[in-house]
Amino acid sequence: MEKDEILKFVRQMKPRDHVIMFHSNSEDKHRVLFTYLKAGLDQGEAAAYIASEETPDEIRQAMRRFGLDVDELERRGALRVIDWRDWYIVGGKFSIAETLQRWKRMYDEVVAKGFKGLRVTGETACFFRERMVSELVEYEQALHRVLELSMAAVCAYDSRLVANERGGELLLDLIKSHSNVMIVGPEGGVVKSH
């Protein structure tokens, strides 16, 4: 599959879609995730990016290079770039219930402001660094609860981290247990979609 087809897939994602993405470098990650968020912003949705592989400022800079008017989008509340310590692992603790509540609150806020929906993405690297991979897997299973709301989600995994976890078994388990999986390689990629 060519990269353009991957980009077409993320542009066409619908509310309640939950996709797990495996990427191998930052360039691919930026291109796919920013395309996905921009498609939502262009149709009147709000967007959120939880950063943990890079800092929020690095993400903002990369978004500007991609062509997003970050300052304007943030000013009118259409875009939020959030540090993982303020969203996932707060005060050294990760709570699935609280994280799901945060998503719900964010959704309610953007809808109250008049946005048509919400597209979110979260980098998962912090769970690997903090040795909270089991919690992450549990969270992935629970995420469908907030996806009853009109929001779409892409969870971004660095393939290099996942491939080394449990001798590669984690990657296989995640692929098997999720109906929407996207793997992006340097020369293309594949999409497993229900």
Binding site: D158, S159, L172, G185, G188, V190, K192
Partner: protein, 106 residues
């Protein structure tokens, strides 16, 4: 017991079929189509052009390719009746070479 090189090659093609099934039948078909159009490599030619297959998988799947290759190798070893030990730095090329030697195919 030694096995012929042709049966080892057949076993590798089957192991590849099973290994790629983790991604589902549609994705497996996409991968075969893609490696044929981009790398001129047909499914049946994978054993003869294994380095090309490895390169194609890495191009498509990045770091995830290593895990899929390990899965293919695991299936291959099971079919050939060999004990499988995962090796961190081995690709499908090294696994197949090792299996061939172990079965006396070269």
């Amino acid at each position: 017991m030694s096995t012929s090189l042709s049966s080892q090659r057949e076993a590798l093609v089957q192991a590849t079929d099973y290994g790629l099934m983790v991604l589902g039948e549609t994705v497996r078909g996409t991968i075969y189509q893609c490696i044929e159009s981009k790398y001129q490599l047909k499914r049946e030619e994978i054993p003869e052009k294994l380095p090309t297959f490895h390169k194609a998988l890495e191009g498509l799947l990045g770091a995830s390719a290593r895990v899929i290759e390990r899965q293919i190798a695991k299936n291959l070893y099971a079919t050939l009746g060999l004990n499988f030990t995962p090796r961190k730095d081995w690709t499908i090329v090294e696994y197949f070479d090792h299996a061939k030697k172990a079965k006396g195919g070269i």
